[in-house]
């Protein structure tokens, strides 16, 4: 915790509101609001009940009084009753006012004294007097009011008006007010503690993740993040761990690639060295020997050039953003020309090539590159074929894709090698490839080009019987990309909003998570790439330099990346993140196919390209 604060102090200029504070305040506001509503609700309903109760009791008292007054014929001053006193006592008891009005609207009795003997003018009283209304019983504001007739043989001889104040007649009400308030206040004070607890608890997971991230930014990249706490922080930790895995995968494949490239480039040089050395050491060598050895050296140099050219091609085909020139192309013609080119080679070994043309196919493809890819396949079919063998090429299409099959009767690929044939510099039989002049990059290039078209390539093979490469490429480029983009979006949304209890949810979430990871990874690699470009364009490198110079002068590029990811908020990094985003936008549609490993490889291919350029320049000079 302290570490984070320490670490952030440098980059943080403004004070930010913590989620904890937000939660605490939100909870408290909610509680305060609820309490206020509850308080006024309870008192309101209690008040209403009190009013109703009061009205009922007032009604029964008034009815009784009306009967008594009727019995005494409304003679309030008769000496043998205490009726006037009774009315005063009753008014005092209900803490209200009682007025007795005679038929001629004279107020015979007013417990307030004030209006005694005056005349009452009131529409309601008139209504009761005239028997238009039986009686009036109502609540007006805080007052209960009863207007009740005094009847003698169905004749109204007067009216009683009783009024009482709900509040004053019920001291209880005030006690209730205060008691409820005190209870709510105590509850609220208690809830402040609870709100703080909720705030702290809910943020604990995120804080822990942050702490660990900071720990990692210090260079401890080998440590995995612990998955604990709430679901969100668990997912966060898991995503971060996956990201780290991708990084280490990328790192590993980069290392492999670098060692492959250096090995491949070294081999011809080593041969040349041996040839040259043996010439220099052999003092008695004649011109014929020299000629022979120099011819060998030239062939080694050709090999080296071929490897470098292939590497360049590979780089170009992989760099899809700039490399592809899609145009409507007749595939039948293209395949014809490919076969036509390869035919002489096949004839040398008496191999029969047949081309099966199911329908006319025109597709959006990069003609030059696809030509190269198909040529590779067909040439391979020739190279790795048996004498007097056959090659069968077919072209077919449906409404979305076209399919090319190249089958041969050749040596086949062993089962354990099928997975690897598309890898760079992989050769099933190294000795044979040396004879055929292969660099081990052909199928890599082919796959790169086909993937660049949004297509796929598959291999079916049986050792000793033959091999079939099956290619599937979409007919139209933009549309398919758009569709893929759409699918990706849907998946994301699904992850975001899918309801509880759905079994799919976990899957889609995982999918989204993976995509997320690969995207983030690709962004970072993009960043690394841009760094590399800067380096190589400066022409500083005559050698392979896999680790680009970090911009900020920090040690280790991954650390820099981790910084950018850990959510620290330095301005410079913000800018960097922004760049990365814009760069990665056009790639969205292809996100599924991308793996960060490939990205890294590509980065290094560019390095290699730069190296190759350097070498070529040196050659020219």
């Amino acid at each position: 915790m302290y570490l984070i604060i320490e670490g952030m102090k440098n980059t943080k200029k403004k004070r930010y509101v913590s989620t904890k504070t937000y939660i605490v305040l939100a909870v408290l506001a909610l509680l305060a609001g609820s309490f206020i509503v509850a308080f006024f609700g309870i008192t309101h309903f209690y008040k209403r009940r009190l009013k109703t109760e009061l009205l009922d009791s007032l009604q029964s008292r008034t009815v009784l009084l009306a009967q008594t007054l009727s019995f005494y014929d409304m003679d309030l001053n008769t000496s043998d009753t205490t009726i006037s006193t009774d009315i005063d006592e009753m008014a005092s008891f209900i803490q209200g006012r009682i007025m007795v009005v005679s038929r001629d609207y004279k107020i015979l009795k007013d417990t307030y004294v004030l209006k005694q003997d005056d005349y009452l003018i009131s529409p309601d009283v008139m209504a009761v007097m005239e028997q238009r209304e039986a009686s009036v019983s109502r609540i007006r504001g805080n007052y209960a009011e009863i207007i009740y007739p005094i009847q003698d043989d169905d004749q109204v001889i007067g009216v009683i008006i009783s009024t009482a104040d709900v509040i004053s007649s019920n001291q209880r009400f005030y006690y209730l007010y205060n008691e409820i308030f005190i209870v709510f206040l105590l509850l609220f004070l208690l809830d402040i503690g609870v709100a703080v607890l909720i705030g702290v608890r809910s943020m604990r997971g995120i804080n822990a993740v942050n702490e660990q991230l900071y720990h990692m930014t210090l260079g401890n990249l080998q440590d995995k993040m612990e998955e604990r706490g709430f679901k969100e922080s668990r997912y966060l930790a898991r995503n971060y761990n996956d990201l780290l895995d991708k990084f280490s995968d990328a790192d590993q494949s980069r290392n492999e690639f670098v060692s492959n490239v250096s090995h491949e480039l070294k081999t011809p040089i080593a041969s040349m060295k041996v040839l040259a050395e043996s010439l220099t050491q052999n003092e008695g060598a004649g011109v014929e020997d020299y000629r022979e050895f120099m011819t060998d050296i030239i062939s080694e140099i050709d090999r080296e050039t071929k490897i470098i050219n292939d590497l360049l091609t590979l780089v170009k085909t992989d760099n899809r953003e700039t490399g592809m020139n899609f145009a409507e192309t007749n595939m039948n013609q293209m395949l014809d020309s490919v076969i036509h080119t390869v035919e002489p080679l096949a004839k040398l070994r008496n191999i029969e090539i047949s081309f099966e043309n199911f329908r006319d196919v025109t597709a959006d493809v990069d003609e030059v590159k696809l030509n190269l890819a198909i040529s590779n396949l067909v040439e391979n079919a020739v190279k790795y074929n048996v004498e007097n063998g056959w090659i069968h090429v077919s072209l077919n299409a449906d409404h979305k894709f076209f399919y090319i099959k190249v089958a041969d009767s050749g040596v086949g690929i062993p089962d354990d090698a099928k997975e690897k044939v598309f890898e760079r510099f992989y050769r099933v039989d190294k000795a044979r490839s040396r004879d055929t002049g292969g660099t081990g990059l052909g199928l890599s290039i082919t796959r790169g080009i086909i993937n660049g078209h949004g297509g796929t390539i598959k291999v079916y093979s049986e050792s000793g019987k033959g091999t079939t490469f099956s290619v599937k490429i979409p007919l139209r480029q933009e549309r398919v990309e758009a569709e893929e983009l759409e699918t990706a979006k849907v998946n994301f949304r699904g992850a975001g909003v899918s309801g509880k209890g759905k079994k799919k949810r976990g899957k889609s979430l995982l999918k989204a998570r993976n995509m997320e990871v690969s995207k983030s990874a690709s962004k970072m690699i993009e960043a690394a790439k841009s760094d590399t470009k800067v380096d190589s364009s400066k022409g500083q490198t005559g050698e392979l330099k896999p680790k680009p110079e970090p911009k900020k002068g920090q040690t280790g590029e991954l650390k820099a990346k981790a910084d950018a990811k850990s959510g620290s908020k330095s301005d410079s990094k913000k800018g960097q993140t922004g760049e990365l985003k814009t760069k990665s936008v056009p790639k969205k549609g292809q996100a599924e196919e991308l793996t960060s490993a490939k990205e890294v490889e590509r980065t290094l291919e560019e390095v290699a390209a730069a190296v190759a350029d350097e070498v070529r320049k040196a050659d020219e000079e």
């Binding site: 403004k14 529409p123 007052y143």
Partner: protein, 326 residues
């Protein structure tokens, strides 16, 4: 995706959160303030009295008329006395007799009520005579009275207004005994609309106050009987207002039983009475309260307890009766 989106909105969120914070704090404080305020404050009884303020100008009088208003749509006519739109300009404002005649001439009498004549005595008291038919209802008669009294009362020179109604006196008619004579002023009519009007009233009560000579004098005081008290409480409150009772005294409760009022006062009542002797204080209470109808005795309690002697002078252990001041 979620996480990425949040990152994008980060700046915006930060911009808002401060504002939000402030708003929350304000709401919170507001809520608390409301809670505190809503709790403690007891409603003060308003002493507002409805006043008919009609601008008066010299030589004019406000006349009234009766309307039958079918308000509730039940077919029953509600009677109302309303002021005419403009004040009536008297032709001879200086002469009482002609003014009264003019006013009576201008008023529209309901059918069945006929103005038969008037007398004017030396004190400017007016007596108006009417004959009333059997068909006139109590309500119509009441309204007629109100209309006439209020209109005539507007004449500044006129003293008391007495009305004389001559009817058949038959059973069920408005004028029961054949002749009905009564004296009115404008305030004789209590316009009562609802309970709240009834509860807030200003009127005169009799009080016994110290006269400064060690005795009591009878005073008619104008008191307001508020929403949450009674006539008895109003009288006691008035005595406290006049500082007869020690300052800060509160009336806890007044209850009536068998013609005896039990008054419970707060402990401040036992404080020093100042220049007024304790006996005067006690009898100011007793005499004022017993002047209200149906109260013969007053028992004084302090904080719910009986007290033997008030300031070691007056025994207030038992109920006290009215004593005529010397």
């Amino acid at each position: 995706m979620k996480y990425v989106r949040r990152m994008k909105n980060k700046d915006m969120v930060q911009k808002f959160s401060k504002k939000k914070n402030r708003i929350f704090a304000a709401i919170l404080l507001g809520c608390m303030a409301i809670s505190f305020a809503g709790c403690g404050a007891q409603k003060q009884a308003s002493t507002e009295v409805k006043k008919l303020s009609i601008a008066q100008s010299a030589g004019t009088v406000q006349l009234y008329y009766i309307v039958k208003d079918n308000q509730d749509g039940t077919g029953a006519n509600e009677l109302q006395v309303l002021p005419q739109d403009s004040r009536y300009q008297l032709k001879q404002p200086d002469s009482i007799a002609s003014s009264v005649e003019e006013v009576m001439d201008q008023l529209t009498m309901p059918s069945g009520v006929i103005f038969t004549g008037y007398t004017l005595d030396a004190d400017s008291n007016v007596r108006l005579r009417f004959s009333v038919a059997d068909s006139v209802s109590e309500e119509m008669l009441l309204m007629t009275k109100a209309m006439i009294v209020r209109s005539i009362d507007g004449l500044s020179q006129v003293g008391d207004v007495a009305l004389e109604f001559h009817g058949t006196g038959a059973e069920g008619t408005a004028v029961q005994d054949g002749v009905e004579i009564a004296t009115y002023t404008d305030s004789s009519f209590f316009y009562y609309d609802d309970a709240e009007d009834s509860a807030k009233n200003v009127g005169d009560v009799v009080l016994y106050l110290p006269n400064g000579n060690g005795s009591l004098k009878k005073v008619v005081a104008n008191v307001t009987i508020g929403a949450d008290d009674s006539a008895q409480e109003a009288v006691l409150r008035q005595l406290i207002a006049y500082e007869v009772l020690p300052k800060g005294t509160k009336v806890n409760q007044v209850s009536l039983m068998n013609g005896s009022a039990t008054v419970d006062l707060s402990e401040e009542f036992l404080k020093d009475t100042g220049s007024i002797s304790p006996k005067i204080v006690i009898y100011s209470i007793v005499d004022s309260l017993t002047s209200l109808p149906n109260i013969n005795k007053v028992q004084i309690l302090v904080a719910g307890e009986k007290v033997e002697k008030y300031h070691d002078e007056v025994s207030i252990a038992g109920p006290l009766e009215f004593v005529e001041p010397e």
